[in-house]
Symmetry: C3
Subunit: 349 residues, 3 copies
Amino acid sequence: MTMPTELPTNQWFVIASVDELGDGPLARTVCGENIVLFRDAEGTLAALVDRCPHRNYPLSLGQVVDGQLQCGYHGLTFSSSGTCVWAPNQSRIPSSASVASYPLCQTGPWIWVWIGDPTHPGVAAPPVLPWLSEPGWAVLHGMEPIAARYGLLVDNLLDLSHETFLHAGYIGTREVAATPIETEVDDATGTVRVSRRMAAVECPKFYSETTGMTSPIDRWQDIEYRPICQYVLHSRIAPAGVAPALDGSDPDAAHLKILYAITPSTAGTTLDFWALCRNFSVDDEGVDEAMADMQRTVVLQDVEALAHVERVLGQSDVVTEVSLKIDSGALAARRVIGRQLEAEPSTAK
Amino acid sequence: MTMPTELPTNQWFVIASVDELGDGPLARTVCGENIVLFRDAEGTLAALVDRCPHRNYPLSLGQVVDGQLQCGYHGLTFSSSGTCVWAPNQSRIPSSASVASYPLCQTGPWIWVWIGDPTHPGVAAPPVLPWLSEPGWAVLHGMEPIAARYGLLVDNLLDLSHETFLHAGYIGTREVAATPIETEVDDATGTVRVSRRMAAVECPKFYSETTGMTSPIDRWQDIEYRPICQYVLHSRIAPAGVAPALDGSDPDAAHLKILYAITPSTAGTTLDFWALCRNFSVDDEGVDEAMADMQRTVVLQDVEALAHVERVLGQSDVVTEVSLKIDSGALAARRVIGRQLEAEPSTAK
Amino acid sequence: MTMPTELPTNQWFVIASVDELGDGPLARTVCGENIVLFRDAEGTLAALVDRCPHRNYPLSLGQVVDGQLQCGYHGLTFSSSGTCVWAPNQSRIPSSASVASYPLCQTGPWIWVWIGDPTHPGVAAPPVLPWLSEPGWAVLHGMEPIAARYGLLVDNLLDLSHETFLHAGYIGTREVAATPIETEVDDATGTVRVSRRMAAVECPKFYSETTGMTSPIDRWQDIEYRPICQYVLHSRIAPAGVAPALDGSDPDAAHLKILYAITPSTAGTTLDFWALCRNFSVDDEGVDEAMADMQRTVVLQDVEALAHVERVLGQSDVVTEVSLKIDSGALAARRVIGRQLEAEPSTAK
């Protein structure tokens, strides 16, 4: 696949969720790399280049035999490290018949892959997203592919004023677009924070149907974004005027961590992984169902909108845009990604 | 959209018919420009660039609110002149957030747009096609998009000998291809005229079913073409031997003005607007229905044929062709368009 | 159509089988040339360039009138040699309005076309594949288009070890991939031979259901390939231990000639003609049906696999591959094709 132009790859990207992986191999394209995921005989996850070095058949069309990946064309068989361990009529197998493997890690339901330099120190530091696995949180998750460059999803998620128009009736209310934001960048960690605090506003359907709260509510949207892949929207909903206690306890509020993993796939496509972690009604399947349904609707509204923007951008060699105050978070994110890129040695891929 | 190579744009092109435009916006691509049409609060037509300058969302996916066009992504709102009058969280809106507008005019059911220089004197001279709006004429109209460059529709309509083969059974008879044509060019107005006068020939189904005339008939085809967009076929059908009177009156003949508006859309697509204006059975809905049905069939035969030719042309960088006497009108039309192009200042679009 | 890069065309390629050609014209693209096939008034086959020289309409969309091919757009009519014999309103037809014709020949059900230099001595030497027409052989045949460059089908057919994996259950057994091959090249005739002789092995379903033989069998696969288009797999199946007699008679064995005609169509597509010629149960329609069904399944498995490989190759400008011992036949075939190419004068097409 065509590599997205200038993409910093020395970082973790979500490639799949564990429940997507059955007994056979799974194909995914991340940052332009075709990758096949499978489990070895011990159940350990493995990720290899999804291309048989012999005659270029996708390995993901083969099968897992005794924890090794067998090509479906001529049967070449690969260990979880990518070594070719069998080929037809060949006792001595050339080392050139092996394929590269990728480091993997797991956080809750999400499997992450490392595309860049495997000796980079960041490989030893998996992402920390505690709500995905800690007790006390109910987790819903899913993924939608988007026919748009990843930057359009960054723009989208860093500027939630679009909720009022694109997601009206679900999470958008008049007050979202009407309330100013505060943006700050933590240069040390490369984190962008965008905060919108709404007081005594309308409770949108997404929250009224899942928390039972009614208007007016206080609604806080605190975005914490570590480009490219780690986006957390700390969402706090409380009856109007109810603040957290001085000790941080906040019993009357509902807290929802809205996570997105923004994974560039090809130059013009993106994998939009999402997870909703809530600390209320954690065992309520009705809430599960209502929340997942509405989230899927909202995500598909983004999917459709961003594909339209990608189509427009594809009609011209030059992208022009006019940025407004609401774009301060997205522009900060671009600067962080630009610095990541500068920090990577340019390599001929 | 990719601009068709070398297209003279200082002229009017049909963009839509009035009945296509409802309460919301309408998207059309004319001469490579993506345009959104809508009506302002007074009902006046407006045409803007169909791209929000903020984040490139098509404005045609938004809605018309109080006669202004609201972007469906972040709500930026534009007046009928293209000025951005509202943006989220932004009291002072930069002038760069506005979009260009296009001059429009209307002739009967057809809305025309001016893509080129808006200060050109031609803007003040809308097309004159009286049969579209004058009393005494019944008007049917429609549009089909064609997956072919506009020049193929010019070739098609200027050489009606193809009726015999492509439209046999509807408007084609043996005599159309068998009868010689006369071609002349009026250089002052850039008008191409192609005339075919058939005497005592077969009456094709298209006319027998709508006029009741039977073979033999005199059948005149007098084309009057003002490139690129204005094509009129003056069709006269009369019992064989019946000529117009010296004073021009012609009570025994049926007159049909077959109009085509040839609108280049992208480099490889064309909008084929058609209108049939008749001075007989003007209140007869049965004739309306029969005539519109057959016309649609004929137009779709052209749509299919020209898409095949476009496909063939797309397989090679070099287009070769052999022109015959029947192509004199089409070749004259190309010369007129070539002169239009020379008269336009070359501009970097 | 885009011409496949560097293709030797001074040779015969199968373009169609006789039963594909009815009363009308038939369109096919061979080696990048769009060709129309039809029968003249005497029933003789003719092949012309499938493009009307007048306005580029595909002649294959027209009709055969009195053994001549009439264009469906303006009626230009062509003899079987490509001469334009009629055009509308044109008494003297320019010679530039004629189209080129291609030499044809026929072998059994297959019609072959000569794309290259029509004065080449090879035109006088049609392919010799006696089993297609000699008595004593039952012939089944078909064709599937493949969305892959022709070289991938050469690779596929010259290395039958893939039967074990891609065609398991039909013609593949464990022993095919496990048995070594012998490869030899006859430089004088440009023929590649690959031989695999399996002794006392499993009888696959394809043969058990059509010959009634049961495991163990002796199974011989003797490939004889004359690039690009003539591939014969001499398949011999016999009860284990039964050898042909010294005089060559082999009454207890079943002989099947599995023919493939590999016809490059466009740069990324191939026509995969196949024929099965058997000397057993020649009048048994049950065997016809079972064998044709299984063959179609096997061919479609190749069709799908090669389209996947083509997709992978299309993602990169550089094709890398690792060749093994099993690829000796395919590599020899590439060398033969390379020599054919060197023998052709480079011409600007």
